[in-house]
Symmetry: D2
Subunit: 441 residues, 4 copies
């Protein structure tokens, strides 16, 4: 067919675990019911526009772009932008994902001034709306790019120059309007340049005050306009900044508390950012979930030995199982999803590699869902965990302490009455053995 950009690829089908066809799902069977919901609803997979259709073409700090996409031909400007939309929706549809995500500048070219840029964005997103209707693919989230253009080199919302701050405001307002038009379910803020390169030339608190002021205006604007997309902050410790203010989940929560914004935001957690912050991959997902702040997940993986964000496709079943266990525990991701903020390696230059990467990752997540669901059904690990904290629920003093009704003196009295506590094994190896039985069994 003349208007196909992946002519050798047909819709990816579920063919079961024995399939040897790389272009098939072995584990992801979208409509199969797991714990009462179809897999597609638990997983809510999303493809990201930037790495998949724009990216730097595989450029890295030491090398030029490596991908040359036939479909781009000699197209430029709006023509190229619209072509990419066609390619993207063909890709979403053939892959069988229900959602996608984008930055403003991913989908439309910047013009000579703000008004031109916005006009371009309007035109392209009108076309995206058409394609959404045509295909049924929905917008998981939109976001603004406040880091690539040189004007943002010293920050967007935290720029020392008021004028740049206002420029950022303009971009934010515009993409919020676009999000509303496209019925996006969430809107993300990631502050790659909201941080510092050197403490010497930086006023941290002043910059955070400004960032908070922006968010306050954003919340106000959304309310006034009746917008419903969930706001999400995405933590990352560094890169491109030496230090980013949204370092990790808890730092970001501290910020929201400090400035009275906590009720208006949730978090979009990316495990690769979590490991860069020095935590285990699922740590921030667990923490955010337990404190009711887990909004969505950027479902990629990194390399714990490299000091930068590699955005690999997730291929580690232990990790995807751990993520899905949290998602099951909180009853799903709500309006959030699992967005593949992943890129094929720059050496993976064949367009089909885009499918291979996503299929491999979707299968690893789908299998993780199956494993996590079985764990949950059996409840063995959960029982062991409950057992471990049993003294708190079985002795009345436990409840009293938890309700902040006890005094230090009461605790001391109890301690003195009991003598030396027993040493109770933490049983980590047993937990691991049993978990492995589920994952690899």
């Amino acid at each position: 067919m003349s208007d196909e950009y992946f002519p050798t690829v047909t819709k990816i089908e579920f063919k079961g675990p024995k399939s040897k066809d790389p272009l098939s799902f072995k584990h992801y069977n979208p409509d199969e019911i797991i714990l009462g919901k179809p897999m597609r609803e638990w997983l809510r997979f999303s493809v990201c526009f930037w790495h998949t259709f724009v990216g730097g073409g595989g450029a890295d700090p030491f090398g030029s772009p490596t991908y040359i996409r036939d479909w781009e031909g000699d197209l430029q400007g709006m023509d190229l932008a619209l072509r990419r939309i066609d390619v993207a929706f063909e890709f979403f549809t053939k892959l069988g994902v229900d959602y996608y995500c984008f930055h403003d500048v991913d989908v439309s070219p910047e013009g000579a001034n703000i008004d031109e840029s916005f006009a371009n964005l309007d035109a392209v997103t009108d076309y995206m709306l058409e394609k959404q209707k045509e295909t049924g693919v929905k917008l998981l989230w939109s976001t603004q790019n406040l880091f690539s253009n040189p004007r943002y080199m010293n920050g967007g919302m935290t720029n020392p120059d008021l004028q740049v701050f206002c420029y950022a405001a303009a971009q934010i307002q515009k993409i919020m309007d676009v999000n509303h038009k496209l019925q996006g379910e969430n809107h993300v803020f990631w502050g790659g340049r909201e941080g510092y390169q050197s403490l010497l030339n930086t006023k941290i608190k002043l910059e955070c005050d400004h960032m908070a002021a922006m968010y306050t205006m954003v919340v106000d604007y959304g309310k006034r306009k009746g917008y419903t997309a969930q706001f999400l902050l995405e933590p990352k410790p560094r890169e491109p900044s030496k230090h980013q203010y949204d370092y990790d989940a808890q730092t970001t929560i501290a910020f929201l508390h400090e400035y009275g914004l906590k009720d208006h935001f949730k978090l979009n957690i990316e495990p690769n950012h979590t490991t860069l912050a020095g935590h285990e991959a699922v740590h921030d997902i667990v923490v955010a979930s337990e404190y009711g702040m887990l909004g969505s997940i950027d479902s990629n993986t990194g390399d714990t030995l490299l000091g930068w964000d590699t955005d690999n496709f997730p291929m580690d079943l232990a990790q995807t199982t751990a993520v899905m266990a949290v998602v099951l525990e909180q009853g799903g991701l709500g309006t959030g999803g699992l967005n593949f903020d992943c890129k094929v390696r720059r050496e993976s230059v064949d367009p089909v590699d885009l499918f291979i990467g996503h299929i491999g990752a979707m299968d690893t997540y789908a299998l993780g869902l199956r494993k996590a669901a079985k764990m949950k059904e059996h409840g063995v690990l959960k029982s062991m965990l409950t057992e471990r904290y049993l003294s708190w629920s079985t002795h009345p003093l436990g409840a009293k302490i938890e309700k902040s009704e006890a005094t230090l003196e009461e605790c001391v009295e109890y301690a003195k009455s009991q003598g030396e506590p027993k040493k109770i094994s933490g049983k980590q190896e047993l937990f691991e053995m049993i978990r492995n039985g589920y994952i690899y069994g």
Copy 2:
């Protein structure tokens, strides 16, 4: 003199920068006035009891103790404890520090049960009070050790076993009482085992709820008893736990916000913990100070290439200058101080090495104070910094935004009226050159 434990060392004197005597200060001249205050008041140096007089005797995970201190002879139990007090106060006095710090179990042996342990602690601290009066040396802070005894292997305040939690309460109550007796100026909580080894066997939020409940009781107890010592939390990201809940300054602040405890605590920041959390050494000091939460400093240094806490004596002038610049900026440390949570290397087995380490560190800090004071007096770096943010204070919209009185629309309008912002150099190299002129000039 028969009762001296460092007979070859006399009181360390200031001999000026040309002195070649290792047992003299080249830069620390306690009563010299710098920016209106004596050096000793800016610096408020403190020696820690644990590394200096107890420690593991230089043991590490691969080696037995290396230090054999003659003064310990064959002493044991209370005899040994009291001997160490004599040694310590001789050391404090000869070194010329005004403060010291200790954990309960550093100074007194545990008994067969709580009551015996507390009786020991009472007796030793009575003697310490005498020595304080005799020498004028004061208690910067006390703290409880809830990590060394095997009963705390699964945590103290966050232990899954209610009984251990209560045992911790008993230790805390007791050391608070002791602190009050000794007129300690602060009281520190460091939660080395308040964290997890494995997410599999841990309920993070439940454990943090319990920790918060303890602090709530602690605050209440202190209020009821009229205690005035400032409570301090000391962040550390890990070690001994794989993950510690008080990961860094901002994580700890998030915790305090979450549980309504923020007004009752400040932070005790240790730069070596800060680098382990992935931040530049002074980052947490700066952040804590700017948000009004910097209470005290553990003035050691670490090794950014080693993944554990080395507690080296600070010998890097650039770092001590940066710390003192923050201290000067906030007008001093209040009731806090610069506590040397440092240990001589395990190969530095001579008792005189204890003096060398401290003198070297005190001089590096004293010189850092001199450099920072000169920077502050000249004001060049500060002017450059003010200049950088000038647009915010010179345009009325800046103030409006900062007061949360502006709308997104006003910002957008301003942005559109101005066109593309100028690209303003961040001048990091110039800031560094000028700073170097002060530090090395």
Copy 3:
């Protein structure tokens, strides 16, 4: 039975993948034939004496020992040493491993002087020889501990003090003799203190010259005595030293080349050390194997986010499969084996946790062997790899270059004749997808 130390544990049996019994093997079936050899011969499992029966009792830098082993009672000195031998051989036998490893000081107490220490070692190892004969359990390797005793705080073979160097020589000679008596198949050197804490007080090359001189004498001594155990060096980058001279596989190979020792040593690789050196877990195993230097493996795992050696039991199937793929490729480990240089977590205080940890790890390795064998049989990944380098074997210039018979000019001529090379996809995602099919399929 009165002389059992693990009375509740009987011989661990293979019960297949559906078994829920923690004290059974789900995957390790010792006599099952895989690719022509019984599993036990491919795996050659070994238990280490130090972590399992001595260790620091679970002590860490912030905590006292946590394990209290009933079997130790109040025993001391030689009585305790001999008791541990009984416990160990009961453990080896019940677990069903064929090998064990030890340091001299693990098994026998140091005496008042060298001669007493050696007499103790003779007595205990005589008893170990009896137990070996009785049980059929064999010695995989012995080693000398040149790092725990304070005399070695500044190094053993690299100590600035000649006297300490000679003391190390004495320990080495003795344990070589003991190894010979016990028919050990290998002898390991791990130099935890052969490195530096500070460049300021260290002469690196002089220290390495001394270390090489020791190895030269060791090789000579072994030859003269007709000893046949394979010498192995075990790299580690740091800890306890800030920098260890045997940083990683290639650094150690450089040392062996430099001093003409390469033919007399192979390497004992520990993946946890490899990740501490900044490499992927199996990197050093692959490198050592490809250069014919892989002698044995310390089959534990670490935590890539912690900066110290955690010696966890290996529980990651992807890693064990990757290791076993290398072992299969080189046709087995020869005289080497998979030694569990692992310890239960210090919170895992129940003796049965020792079994759980080992069983979990053995099953993870056994399943890794099964997966790697299937990969090898199918040959899919290997074919893809061969295909990738095909240009070298299909064009005559390739062979000429590989035989060092080509000139730069010939290469240039070929390049000019061919024009711009094709960009060939590295297909990393496809390799990962197919590997995952084997591991998780």
Copy 4:
């Protein structure tokens, strides 16, 4: 003057330590004699072409170029290339450095095929030769870029495709010829893509065999042509590759030994690469120097908390002093130099920032030279070091061991005759205190 590109900057002069002029040297006084040689000869400063005149214009993985250099105007192709040569030589001359370095592709545009590319290179380098003669500035080293062009995405010398290998050969041969024409004193090989992204699709040894074959042809070609530039390998552990074969100094030395190339190469060490490999900044410089392999230094600095190569200007006096101490100890760098492989921060967009960065760094090195020279003259630290190893030179057994004439038995006998060795303090704190006295005194 119409043909000046830095019209506001005149020749940078030495104005002494009290100068407040950022565009003056405070410490670098090129013709001042230090320990018998002019500063310029000890330091042999070099400016790199890539970061200073090309770079990515300040682009990073998250942002577009930020520097817009007026002198580039709308120039393209050869016109732009020649303009940059003019700019560069004006910069070298005004800054007062004697050397510069470049990659082939830095200075001349690639053409439609090899021949065109080489013709461009010939033309530009003919012009560079003229400028060298005119200004007296010399070529410290040249190198080939085998990593930026997409053809090298899977490696240059280690590419699985023979054709790419040969293309690399063509580039190498050409730049060797150019180097000879320009009388370059060294020629560097840095293998950013000579490594792997995934072990799954890589044959490590085969790739290293090919790399060695290339070097063998290179050495042969140089010999046949009578070329005299010193070959240098530059280690780096990773980035852009996940793992680079020339990981660090010792890994590179292992490679040279393995393939019989050790006599033909020295090393070019970059401290920022050294810290990325997990070593202290000067470790590789010390190791390379002690083994006679230190050829040249890339005198930048990095950030030990960031996992990528930041190429900052060196501003840390302790580090530059340590480097210069090694250089003094080996009597200078021979044909090597201190090349500033540094870039201004991407926010430092003013052309004058290029001067500020270099001046700050040159001063930090010049002051480091002064401090190191004083340390060497006084000899205090060296005496302390000699003292530490004295037992080896004062007892005859020491010499015997060092000459490989002793047996294990002789050492054992000596150990037994001496009893327990003394525990001798390593005195690290004293070494540090004395060093600080020199650096900050």
